[in-house]
């Protein structure tokens, strides 16, 4: 009988009531008294020298408050990067200034050149059209390999080249890996592209800056996954506003997927301009602006090699990747192709030697940063594609080859600097074989053939590192921030609790799942617990939500704070019942004295804490409020096995996903329904990447996929019903709930399954196709079949 409350139950998401009835409070729903509106004049050239900006005519237009250009921002900083990479030669990365408005040059289509503040959005836009720009077009740097090979045209003239860094990991293994390849019985090589994506959350970005002249306080309302991080980055590095004078609010946020982690120039602009104009300033991105100003994702060009011995044991993995940074370094951009990618290149396998080389490259494109999975999908895709290719080359079963090389003993120290605490990769593979009914595949293939379709089966594993991250470790790796989380639990006199968490919910369901944990710990109804997040004035500190960290890190902080609450409440209860602290037990919301029938209710104790007439005032303070910070000692390592079955139409190349199965190990689970939803969404995005989504620039740096007319998002009828299972559970050993992250797994694990399936289908039809680059559009599949 499933539980109906607490850990392991699946109560419906309480936040959905407001979302589904139109009562969400999104940033664009907020309007400040007397607000003005900003319109950004954006570059339609990818690369150009700014010779002049004439705003005279525009300033005379109706409703114009003020027009800003780079000259207005000389006294403030650029948009900072939060991670510094040291390359394989010991040099720190090249780090160009990222101005609020274009300075001297424009470096990508969509870069803001000038900002018009006016009484209405239409007036701001009208005036922006009256600005006269004198921009001399320069050749665009688009292709990464060409940009590195020839730096005669540089994105940043003050840098030595277009190469941001040349990272080697583990650099000391470079020679040993080379030797392993020379000694190998078999080497499989695969060149592939991890296609550039545009996240496209349903809600575009919005920012509202406010300034209070009487208190000298600034407030920013913004569509962010981590308001405290924005407060720190923008306050300390851009505008010079101390944290006690700056409030950042991220209310309901309509999807993030990573692209709302980062600090954006528009946020700093609105905060700065609100003070400069002494008016609230609002910006709402249009969908067209979002395509060319939200940070993009992925965009790696890689070569991966796998060495095997004569018994088909993996002996070494080597990869060579070009990672697109775009024109500027977005907040976490340098971390994505390095530490979030290199440490996953062992995958689920006991490969003893790994070497990863990553060249990060500046191009005249929108900055590229984390997108659901962030580096880990790129690692998984390379590894699981090359293993599949190796199995085909060797004529062995791809599942058997994987099983033969699985890591089976834990904890396991990989050759790429991380230690997997727990996992059972054979268990998830067993479960996958069951839920995907792999034994029935041959029958289904025959049925497809009978109707003129080619059926293929793709299987892969994944391991990911999430629950980001131990602060001391990431500090050594170049992070300019700690990656702990905090929670404050405030108990009110009548027994209700308010949890102020630094985790930000933008679709994840924290408002439902977090109370389940506390309800379980205290034994009270979930309705007594309220989750507060997304406001630096309400939540003391927070690092936000990304990297599948909310429950593993934010939830752990909440558990620790709640443990402190319970410990103090037990002291109060002991006093009320005239017993020793150590004899107090808490169960079902009742404090009792062990071995007696004496008890007091949760509400009696909380009331005593605030009405301390009978209270141990000499020992403890009144009140019941505790804060805890939790800094994880390791990543968590979710893993799983995925299977995809496709039908390919041989006449058109169209791929239809017929079955998709996912067996995941997320450790302990708080709300299975929410986990199902996270996996479903992740797989949807993974299938989107594999079949549909592709951000395309032409050689001049024009964005060809600049709207939904040309950028294909997955829709319901593109996706099958999923078979999802998370009954294989090896709990995390180092956080109090034993949980691992589940938010990114689907997007990490699914693309290789899809591509493996299509390659399987084509090979079964006698086509000599070993790889097709994503998205596997009908035209590409048809060309591969007829190439």
């Amino acid at each position: 009988m499933p539980k109906d409350s607490g850990i392991g139950a699946s109560p419906k998401r309480r936040e959905d009531v407001r979302f589904l009835t139109g009562n969400g409070n999104y940033t664009d729903d907020i309007n400040a008294h007397g607000q003005a509106y900003v319109h950004f004049l954006r570059s339609d050239l990818a690369h150009g020298k700014i010779n002049g900006i004439d705003t005279a005519a525009a300033e005379a237009m109706p409703g114009v408050v003020r027009i800003f250009t780079a000259a207005d921002f000389e006294a403030v900083g650029g948009v900072p990067c939060g991670w510094q990479i040291t390359d394989r030669h010991g040099e720190v990365m090249q780090e160009p200034k990222h101005p609020i408005l274009a300075e001297g040059k424009v470096r990508h289509v969509g870069e803001a050149i000038a900002a018009v503040v006016a009484d209405s959005p239409e007036q701001a836009r009208d005036a922006a059209e009256a600005i006269e720009l004198d921009i001399e077009e320069l050749p665009a740097v688009i292709d990464m390999k060409a940009a590195v090979a020839d730096s005669s045209v540089k994105v940043h003239d003050d840098l030595t080249s277009n190469l941001c860094f040349d990272w080697g990991f583990v650099e000391e293994n470079r020679e040993a890996v080379e030797q392993a390849f020379q000694d190998a019985a078999h080497v499989t090589t695969l060149e592939l592209i991890n296609n550039r994506l545009i996240a496209n959350p349903m809600e575009p970005r919005v920012a509202i800056g406010e300034y209070n002249r009487s208190s000298d306080d600034s407030t920013l309302y913004t569509t962010s996954q981590n308001p405290h991080v924005i407060r720190l980055l923008m306050g300390a590095f851009v505008l010079g506003i101390p944290e006690h004078k700056l409030r950042v609010v991220a209310p309901d946020v309509g999807g993030g997927f990573g692209t709302k982690i980062f600090h954006y120039a528009e946020e700093a602009f609105c905060t700065f301009a609100a003070k400069a104009c002494n008016r609230a300033i609002k910006w709402t991105s249009s969908r067209s602006e979002a395509f060319m100003s939200d940070a993009h994702g992925r965009d790696h060009v890689s070569k991966i090699e796998l060495a095997l011995d004569a018994d088909n044991n993996f002996t070494a993995v080597r990869t060579d990747t070009y990672a697109n940074m775009g024109a500027y370094l977005s907040t976490f951009a340098p971390a994505v192709p390095t530490w979030l990618h290199g440490i996953l290149m062992a995958g689920n396998y006991k490969t003893p030697l790994v070497y990863v080389n990553v060249k990060a490259v500046f191009t005249n494109t929108v900055p590229v940063d984390a997108y659901r999975g962030a580096g880990r999908p790129e690692a998984t895709f390379q590894l699981e594609r090359v293993v599949d290719k190796a199995a085909r080359e060797l004529g062995v079963d791809p599942i058997a080859l994987r099983r033969q090389n699985f890591i089976t003993e834990f904890p396991y120290a990989t050759p790429v600097a991380v230690e997997y605490d727990t996992g059972d990769y054979n268990a998830t593979m067993d479960k996958l074989e069951e839920i995907a009914d792999l034994s029935g595949f041959a029958t289904r293939r025959a049925a497809s053939e009978a109707k003129g379709k080619i059926r293929g089966l793709g299987v892969n594993c994944y391991i990911e590192a999430c629950g980001i991250a131990p602060s001391n470790l990431v500090g050594q790796l170049g992070a300019r921030a700690g990656l702990y989380e905090s929670a404050t639990v405030r108990v009110n006199a009548t027994g209700g609790l308010v949890v102020m968490t630094g985790s930000h919910s933008h679709g994840q369901g924290h408002e439902t799942a977090f109370p389940q944990v506390i309800a379980e710990m205290i034994g009270i109804d979930e309705s007594m617990i309220e989750i507060v997040h997304g406001d630096t004035a309400k939540v003391p500190m927070g690092m936000g939500t990304y990297g599948s960290r909310s429950l593993a890190v934010g939830g752990s902080a909440m558990v620790k704070a709640t443990e402190k609450i319970i410990a103090k409440a037990k002291k109060i209860a002991a006093h009320l019942m005239e017993a020793a602290d150590a004899d107090i037990e808490l169960k079902d919301g009742q404090f009792s004295v062990a071995g007696t029938d004496k008890s007091v209710a949760w509400g009696d104790v909380t009331l005593a804490a605030y009405v301390p007439h009978n209270y141990p005032l000499e020992d403890i303070e009144p009140g019941l409020e505790e804060t805890a910070f939790y800094d994880p000692s390791n990543f968590t390592y979710p893993s799983g096995a995925y299977a995809c079955e496709v039908e390919v139409d041989p006449d058109t190349g169209k791929v239809s996903i017929e079955r998709f199965s996912a067996a995941d190990d997320f450790g302990n689970i708080v709300n299975p329904m929410i986990v199902d939803g996270q996996v479903h969404g992740g797989i949807g995005q993974g299938i989107g990447q594999a079949l549909l989504e592709g951000c395309v620039y032409d050689e001049n740096g024009q964005l060809l996929s600049a709207s939904f007319m040309d950028y294909a998002m997955p829709r319901a009828d593109d996706l099958p019903f999923y078979a999802v299972d998370h009954s294989c559970q090896t709990p995390c050993t180092h956080n109090p709930l034993g949980v691992k992250g589940c938010g990114e797994a689907g997007a990490i694990g699914s693309p290789p399954a899809v591509v493996n399936a299509v390659v399987d289908a084509l090979q079964s039809a006698g086509k000599n196709v070993t790889h097709i680059d994503m998205p596997l559009s009908p035209g590409r599949v048809w060309a591969a079949m007829n190439g």
């Binding site: 239409e122 079949l691 549909l692 060809l704 009908p778 035209g779």
Partner: protein
């Protein structure tokens, strides 16, 4: 969007008069025009809405023809053109329900998007485009991408389709927009087969003469199995090469014939 004036005439004559204003623009369902205006890529001085004109709402079946008023929506055609099932089926797959409940047949034909569905139906059906001023044969009407025989201020008041003996439309959608990457409408009339192709050509909707000749000899999928269009004039873009579109023209034609027989 820039400011504009809005007129809502109740008769074709009033609409024609309103369209005489400088930079006036007729508004059908607005499924192309309104997004274009929102992006400030069009700035008509006056929008003349045709949706309130009763004489353009007609739906007439008889004498082997279906005549549809210019401001009839795709949803109404999908539900009501039972006398011409292939046309009703085509209409039921234009865009999504929101588009089908606003977009009109007159608007679609006047716009002549190279990836739109109706132009293929009109051309394959030897339809007659009826305007406030004249009747135009489909063969004379379509003149290339977004280009038609319409004069400035001329309004499509209706379209008269000759109902073929058999017909079928096959659409292979572009994955993002779900417009036709290639759409082929095959119609077998008493006086011959017509094959019209949309989505594929840089010159807009066209008749595939070689396929028509082969199907006049033998109306079977096999008859067109070995035919191919010249890729040179096909559209090549990020959704499909010229060669791929040329290939799809063959595949969709075969499927349309097979479905029609």
């Amino acid at each position: 969007m820039y400011n504009f004036d809005y007129e809502a005439p109740s008769s074709v004559a009033e609409a024609v008069a309103a369209l005489a204003a400088e930079d006036a623009q007729a508004l059908g369902g607005g499924q192309t025009l309104i997004p274009t205006m929102k992006q400030r890529l069009a700035m008509p001085s006056t929008l003349v809405s045709l949706s309130g004109i009763a004489e353009m709402k007609g739906f007439d079946v008889g004498n082997g023809a279906v005549t549809i008023g210019g401001n009839v929506t795709h949803a109404v055609v999908a539900a009501g053109a039972g006398a011409y099932p292939a046309l009703a089926e085509l209409a039921s797959h234009i865009g999504d329900p929101a588009v089908r409940n606003r977009g009109t047949i007159g608007g679609s034909l006047a716009n002549n998007d190279p990836s739109a569905d109706y132009p293929a139906a009109a051309l394959a059906s030897a339809a007659v485009i009826v305007t406030n001023a004249r009747e135009i044969a489909a063969d004379d009407y379509f003149q290339g991408m977004f280009t038609t025989a319409l004069e400035d201020g001329e309004i499509i008041t209706g379209v008269r389709f000759a109902v073929p003996e058999v017909a079928n439309y096959q659409k292979f959608v572009q994955p993002a927009s779900r417009f036709a990457l290639v759409g082929v409408f095959v119609a077998k009339h008493a006086d011959g087969v017509r094959v019209a192709v949309t989505g594929a050509s840089e010159e807009g909707v066209f008749r595939w003469a070689a396929a028509e000749a082969a199907l006049n000899d033998s109306f079977s999928a096999d008859a067109v199995a070995d035919l191919a269009v010249d890729p040179a004039n096909m559209i090549g873009d990020l959704h499909g090469t010229k060669a791929y579109r040329a290939h799809l023209v063959g595949v969709m034609t075969k499927r349309a014939v097979a479905a029609a027989t």
